[in-house]
């Protein structure tokens, strides 16, 4: 190969000398005009790259200025009656609620219309928040999920425990994360899962054996979320000062948003009202 090349160079040089022709046109290095496809592609690229630049990342560590957001979720109007769950399909489940029958958990209200199981979180807060290694536990006890609504952080272990002497299957139906459906035939069995993609709107976890069993789980990219208690209160602490959109989500009544600005070390109250 090299020999061939050498010979050809030699030959070429001889010819070159004999002709002595100095013609050489360098290819123009002007940048090219636009192609039809070009206009659309650059536009797409610029919008895609524009977004992350705008976000300023707050410090991940809890700052001394951290604010606290507390609030109350209320239900306006006549609260629907919490109906009894018909558990006769599985005698074990029924036996667990022999004194008082279990009630549906989709709308749980307090005496003054406080609404429980509302998932409250800060929307679009940028930054890097490491997930705690302590697991979040969902307990299946008396053929119901405890708690009914909860969240994990991305990467935080989720433990699902079966405390019942009956078969449960944990059928999680996330959209962004991969769904799973595991059987737990043995009492005391624990399945540990890692959800690795954020999914701020809670997804459903159900048990196909016991049709009434439902639970909701969000996967959060940050730790600023809370679930309203039976007294309707929620607390989001360690919040860096700033302006935020707070979202409250309820499995039956959908979600609401409110704007809030919190200053350094401020404790701010924020109330949500859902209508039936």
């Amino acid at each position: 190969m090299t020999m061939k090349k050498f010979v050809s160079v030699l030959f070429a040089t001889t010819l070159l000398l004999s002709i002595a022709c100095g013609k050489g046109k360098e290819a123009s290095k002007e940048d090219e005009g636009e192609d039809d496809e070009q206009t659309t592609t650059t536009a797409a690229a610029s919008t895609a790259s524009g977004a992350p630049a705008a976000a300023a990342a707050p410090a991940a560590a809890v700052s001394a200025d951290a604010a606290t957001l507390t609030g109350l979720v209320k239900f306006e109007g006549a609260a629907p009656k919490m109906t009894n769950i018909q558990m006769s399909a599985d005698p074990y489940c029924q036996s667990q609620h022999s004194s008082a029958p279990a009630t549906e958990e989709d709308v749980v209200t307090g005496p003054a219309g406080e609404l429980a199981n509302v998932f409250v979180y800060i929307k679009d807060i940028k930054g890097n928040f490491p997930a705690p290694s302590t697991p979040v536990v969902i307990d299946q006890k008396g053929c119901q999920y405890h708690p009914h609504v909860n969240a994990v952080m991305v990467g935080q272990p989720l433990q699902i425990k079966n405390d019942d002497a009956t078969l449960h299957n944990v059928h999680a139906m996330p959209v962004a994360n991969s769904q799973f459906n595991e059987g737990q035939p043995v009492q005391g069995m624990v399945s540990t899962k890692h959800l690795d993609k954020p999914e701020v709107t809670p997804f459903k976890i159900k048990c196909d054996v016991h049709g009434w069993m439902k639970s909701y789980m969000a996967v959060m990219p940050h730790p600023f979320y809370s679930v309203s208690q039976t007294n309707g209160t929620f607390t989001i602490s360690n919040l860096p000062p700033g302006q935020y959109t707070v979202v409250a989500w309820h499995e039956k009544y959908g979600q609401q948003e409110q704007q809030v600005t919190v200053g350094a070390k401020e404790s701010k109250a924020l109330n949500f009202t859902f209508k039936g």
Binding site: K5, S8, V9, F11, A12, T13, L15, L16, I19, C21, K23, G24, K25, A27, S28, E30, D31, E32, G33, E34, D35, D36, E37, Q38, T40, T41, T42, A44, A45, A48, Q86, M87, S88, A89, D90, A165, T166, L167, N169, V170, H171, M173, S178, Q179, F180, N181, E182, G183, Q184, P185, V186, Q187, G188, M189, S191, D196, D208, V209, G211, W212
Partner: protein
């Protein structure tokens, strides 16, 4: 000697010299021009430019590589080297001794080796001498023999000596190596670190074009034929030949000459890079990429990210093919060296110039930009500077036989090789396109001689019994404008189209005249159809409840194929608007939209249709849902409530007598004289005239192509044959006055007609009468193709199929799906598509359109993806023929309908599932008999895993198993005693092991989750067996393992063994008898017409009908 006389010439030498001189100069000049022209040929510039881009990138990468070279590590290595040499210096004496010893031994070794070799050669010579002397009985034979023995012994000694020396030398070498190893290691490491830079600088020399570089010299004019750097790059494809009418020549694709990086990853456009990197990342995240390729993939993603971040975007023609994993790439199924480019894209294979290669613009804008020129070179060949400004010098060339498919039509090229496949793997666009052609029934009017579009039924319903179904008034309004009745209908609009009434193209006077003529034609068609219709009297339904009927319609499965609304909420505006077909899945457009069915037809017809569609006409595509009399009555009551009264309020203009007369006469004078025609018409009544005209109009518009109409049996379809339409030359397409024109479509959007075949077809489909614009034509000569109101997307897809149907042939070994296995699958797929199985089932990963209408996913019809591996063929055959042989989930509202398949059709489907599921056609383990011990263990495992919580194990009647009476109906699962008849033996254990992998989202829980690290199955019983809860099971199980606790525990942690035991248990409880499908399939007591009134015998009834149909013929010009 006399001086020689000058030879006399009849011409002047000096003048001749001048002529020679001038012509030589001219020749030199022409040669110069030729060389010059060759030197600036367009494709050369593209290569030079690409080399420049490569240089730029290499220089950049070198900078990165150098900065990444990890100077720290390099410094550390240098330090190490220094230390090593210091150490070596310190122990110099020892090293020198070792080296000396080695040198000496090396010499010894050489000597010993030589000795041995010589001795061996001598021995060979001696052997010959010895043999010769023995054979020739020489005197010295014995002596020679002794000499041979001596030398042989000597050689053995030498060999021992050589081995000894070698051993010593190797030991000495190892001794030195010990010293040198450290130094060498450091050097190797250093080489590794600088390897990328070294490689890059090597690459740089190959693309170096600097003045007086090797490449530069070789590229100079006149030198560039020696060993050119810039040269035409081509692929010769012998078995993808081109038909030159009388001979086949190999295809020689030279596209790569300019499209330099087409098969080289790394030159994607930014948008492509973004798409690809996202796709790869998703695959990576989902663990769809095998472990050994992960690193490679990550590197590729990094490369794509670099492209996205680069300041300049790569432009065509230097871009990489966007689907390298599918085309062109060496690892793809269509590698460049085997398939080239033009076999898919078309274009002139050997051309190296932009215009001549057959590049086809996709839009007028693109066309103009391509054709742009700088004034300097206008009318002359383009110069490199033109290319630099992206002026391609494009000129439309009518003589290119195979112009390229423009953008948006690329997948048309797939048809050539994939026409024997229903779905082209990863060719979603072409798959959807052929489906669209099938949906609209293009093949009915336009013959397409192609496996994909042959043997398909007529797309429209049989009109032989139209009088039983509806009224002439309805039919008139329907034919006038079907879209007024149902916005989603596939019945096209034939009348009052653009070329007849559009004020922008038809003069007002002609317009009024056209309306009269069209009214007459519609009246005539209705008259003919009702005149020829049967008048069977159908059984009336009993009292039905519309509410219950609605529930049945919504739950039993009707919504898989039908839509029941015309109103949809627009996603963009949020407004309620009229529905389009595209708003619903393809499968749900299979049946008609139920809107207004009560207005269209009557209770008796609906009742009998829903009970058994085949009783109305035998080829009815609707299957029987086995409704009981009461259910059918309820459904009828509900469907009758679906009214559209506004449709029946539109006015019907009576037929114009003169118009009917003129049109009828127009047909008659084809065979009769003017006088005879007149007298014939006079002898006919008004009604007879209408019926006659109706017959001729049906013939004119080709209604019989899609509908069965009495009197038109066996006629050839009306439209142009499309079998090789894509090869038809451009000049054979009549653009009328619409070449390079714009027009406003019905949505008010401007569309363009450009002078290419795809554009012609697309615009024809969007507005079939458009090429009549501003033309003067007599009424019957005007374009007749009806308007399907296709959306731009639908029109594009259909046009893509049309331009893809070419006469180009490829060698059989290049055709896809011609092997027996694939043929069986494809025949089945065709049936699946024909019977719209995907309305309810997932087949090949697609379908289940019904899902959007059933709220609870637990009540959906089954996913058939694993059906071949799952179901036993005999069961499937019986079940397909007659679904009542087994009810697997008796609590489902949705029913598997009875399709009345014949044996051949059922077999085709069974074979399809078996082949596609890679299962054997017949399950040889069907009769397996598990051992009692296995069954006992299986039963224990079954109890421990609590399977009975959902599955029943008491034998049931397969035809009618009881619906388990539990409060919570969602906890149900199939009765396991039916498994043995239905499921394949080996499938059962596989399914229990990994249900969610086989059918994602299934309710069957995963009992043996995979270990994230190893991918092996974990067993929940591995630990549980030792807990007090399970003590009782353990004591039952131990004797079955002969008291071997270790073996028991091992088994309990082995998912494969456990599921096999479960399978044995399930097999043991299975029932083994099932009814066979009846030979005719299941046919419930069919409602048959009670009496038939032939139209001829009921003139009275008919005339009242007709009077209703045609309100008193107007006193037009005729009388």
């Amino acid at each position: 000697m006399k001086p020689q006389e000058p030879i006399p010439h009849n011409y002047s030498i000096s003048r001749l010299n001048l002529i020679f001189a001038l012509s030589s100069l001219a020749l030199v000049a022409v040669t110069g021009l030729v060389v010059g022209y060759d030197y600036i040929r367009g494709w050369k510039w593209f290569q030079l430019e690409f080399m420049r881009m490569q240089r730029e990138r290499i220089v950049q990468e070198m900078q990165v590589a150098k900065s990444e070279e990890n100077t720290k590590q390099l410094a550390a290595l240098d330090e190490q080297e220094r230390k090593n040499s210091l150490e070596l210096a310190r122990h110099r004496d020892q090293y020198m001794t070792a080296q000396k010893a080695f040198d000496a031994l090396e010499g010894d070794h050489y000597r010993a080796d030589q000795d041995y070799r010589f001795a061996k050669a001598n021995l060979d010579a001696q052997r010959y001498i010895t043999e010769a002397s023995v054979v020739q009985h020489r005197a010295d034979a014995a002596q020679q023999q002794a000499e041979y023995e001596r030398q042989s012994a000597h050689l053995a000694d030498l060999q021992v000596r050589l081995q000894e020396v070698t051993r010593q030398r190797d030991a000495a070498k190892a001794n030195i190596d010990q010293w040198l190893k450290k130094i060498k290691d450091a050097e190797d490491k250093k080489k590794e670190l600088t390897a990328s830079v070294d490689l890059l600088s090597k690459q740089l020399t190959t693309v170096d074009m600097g003045r007086f570089s090797t490449n530069w010299i070789l590229s100079q004019p006149m030198l560039d034929f020696v060993n050119p750097v810039i040269k035409i790059d081509q692929v010769v494809l012998n078995d993808l030949s081109i038909d030159m009418n009388y001979m086949n020549v190999p295809r020689v694709d030279r596209c790569q000459t300019c499209h330099r990086a087409i098969d080289t990853p790394g030159w994607e456009s930014k948008a492509e890079a973004a798409r690809l990197s996202q796709e790869l990342q998703q695959k990576l995240d989902a663990y769809q990429i095998p472990q050994e390729k992960r690193a490679e993939t990550e590197e590729r993603i990094a490369q794509l990210k670099r492209i996205q971040d680069a300041p300049n975007d790569t432009l065509n023609p230097w871009r990489t093919h966007p689907k390298l994993d599918l085309y062109v790439g060496s690892a793809s199924v269509h590698p460049l060296l085997e398939y080239g480019c033009t076999v898919c894209h078309r274009g002139q294979d050997r051309a190296t110039e932009f215009g001549r290669a057959g590049h086809t613009p996709a839009s007028p804008r693109m066309e103009h930009r391509w054709a742009e020129r700088t004034p300097l070179t206008a009318g002359f060949f383009p110069l490199p500077s033109d290319f630099a400004q992206r002026h391609w010098g494009y000129e439309e060339n009518e003589f290119i036989e195979t112009p390229m498919y423009p953008r948006h039509y690329y997948e048309a090229g797939c048809i050539k090789c994939h026409s024997s496949q229903i779905a082209v793997d990863r060719g979603d666009d072409i798959t959807k396109a052929t489906q669209t052609v099938e949906l609209y029934g293009c093949y009915a009017c336009h013959k397409i001689n192609n496996w994909r579009f042959s043997d398909l039924r007529k797309p429209g319903p049989d009109l032989g019994g139209i009088a039983e179904k509806t009224t002439p008034e309805w039919a008139f309004r329907w034919i006038s404008e079907p879209h007024n009745f149902r916005s989603t209908t596939r019945m096209p609009s034939f009348f009052y189209q653009r070329n007849m009434i559009d004020p922008s193209v038809v003069p007002p006077q002609e317009r009024t005249h056209n309306i009269k003529l069209q009214d007459a034609e519609i009246h005539a068609i209705v008259s003919y159809l009702f005149d020829k219709s049967t008048h069977r009297v159908w059984q009336q339904p009993g009292a039905g409840d519309a509410g219950r009927g609605k529930q049945i319609v919504n739950s039993v499965g009707c919504m898989g194929c039908h839509i029941d609304t015309e109103q949809v909420k627009d996603e963009k505006s949020g407004q309620i608007r009229l529905a389009k077909r595209e708003d619903f899945p393809l499968e749900r457009n299979y049946g008609f939209n139920l809107t207004g069915v009560g207005t269209k037809t009557n209770s008796a017809w609906i009742y009998n249709w829903v009970k058994n569609p085949k009783s109305y006409y035998a080829e009815a595509p609707m299957p029987s849902l086995r409704l009981t009399d009461q259910e059918a009555s309820d459904v009828t009551a509900f469907l009758l409530t679906l009214q559209k009264p506004s449709f029946m309020k539109t006015a019907i203009r009576p037929p114009d007598r003169q118009a009917v007369h003129d049109l009828a006469k127009g047909y008659l004078i084809n065979t009769l004289s003017d006088r005879d025609a007149e007298s014939k018409l006079r002898s006919m009544s008004d009604h007879e005239q209408l019926v006659y005209l109706g017959q001729r109009s049906i013939e004119k518009y080709g209604c019989y192509s899609c509908h069965n109409i009495k009197g038109f049996e066996g006629l050839k379809p009306i439209g142009t044959e499309l079998t090789v339409e894509g090869s038809k030359a451009l000049h054979l397409f009549d653009f009328g006055f619409m070449n390079e024109e714009k027009w406003k479509n019905e949505d008010g959007v401007t569309e363009h007609v450009i002078h290419t075949v795809p554009s012609w077809v697309y615009n024809k489909l969007r507005n079939p009468r458009i090429y009549d614009d501003r033309r003067t034509k007599v009424y019957n000569d005007k374009l007749k193709m009806p308007n399907f109101h296709l959306t731009p997307e639908e029109a594009r897809r259909i046009a893509m199929v049309v331009v893809g149907l070419t006469k180009e042939k490829v060698a059989e070994n290049r055709m896809a799906g011609l092997d027996a296995h694939t043929r069986l699958i494809e025949e089945g797929r065709k049936r699946v598509s024909q019977h719209n199985c995907r309305a309810c089932h997932v087949v090949d990963g697609r379908g289940r359109a019904i899902a959007s209408t059933i709220a609870d996913a637990n009540f959906l019809p089954p996913d058939l993806s694993p059906e071949g591996a799952r179901a036993q063929s005999p069961f499937l055959f019986n079940f397909l023929k007659d679904p009542t042989v087994m009810k697997i989930r008796p609590w489902l509202g949705v029913r598997m309908p009875t399709f009345h398949f014949d044996d051949h059709e059922a077999n085709t489907l069974v074979t399809f599932f078996a082949e596609a599921g890679k299962g054997a056609q017949f399950d040889t383990t069907r009769g397996a008999n598990p051992s009692p011990a296995n069954v006992k263990i299986g039963q224990q495992v079954f109890t421990m895993l609590r399977c009975a919580q959902c599955h029943g194990t008491t034998p049931v009647n397969p035809e009618n198993p009881p619906t388990p009476n539990t409060a919570d109906s969602t906890s149900l699962a199939p009765n396991l005693t039916l498994a043995r008849l239905r499921l394949r033996h080996d499938w059962i254990s596989d399914w229990i092991r990994r249900p969610n992998e086989m059918i994602p989202g299934t309710r069957m829980p995963t009992n043996f989750p995979r270990d994230a690290a190893t991918g092996g199955f974990q067993s929940p019983l591995a630990l549980a067996i030792d807990t007090p809860q399970f003590a009782q099971y353990k004591s039952t199980l131990l004797p079955l393992f002969n008291g071997n606790e270790k073996e028991l525990k091992r088994t309990m942690s082995d998912a494969v063994a456990l599921t096999d035991y479960l399978r044995d248990y399930i097999w043991s409880i299975g029932i083994t008898q099932m009814r066979s499908a009846s030979p005719t399939g299941d046919a419930p007591a069919m409602a048959m017409p009670q009496q038939s009134l032939p139209p001829a015998t009921a003139p009275a009834a008919k005339s009242t009908r007709n009077q209703r149909a045609i309100p008193a013929v107007s006193g037009g010009a005729g009388r």
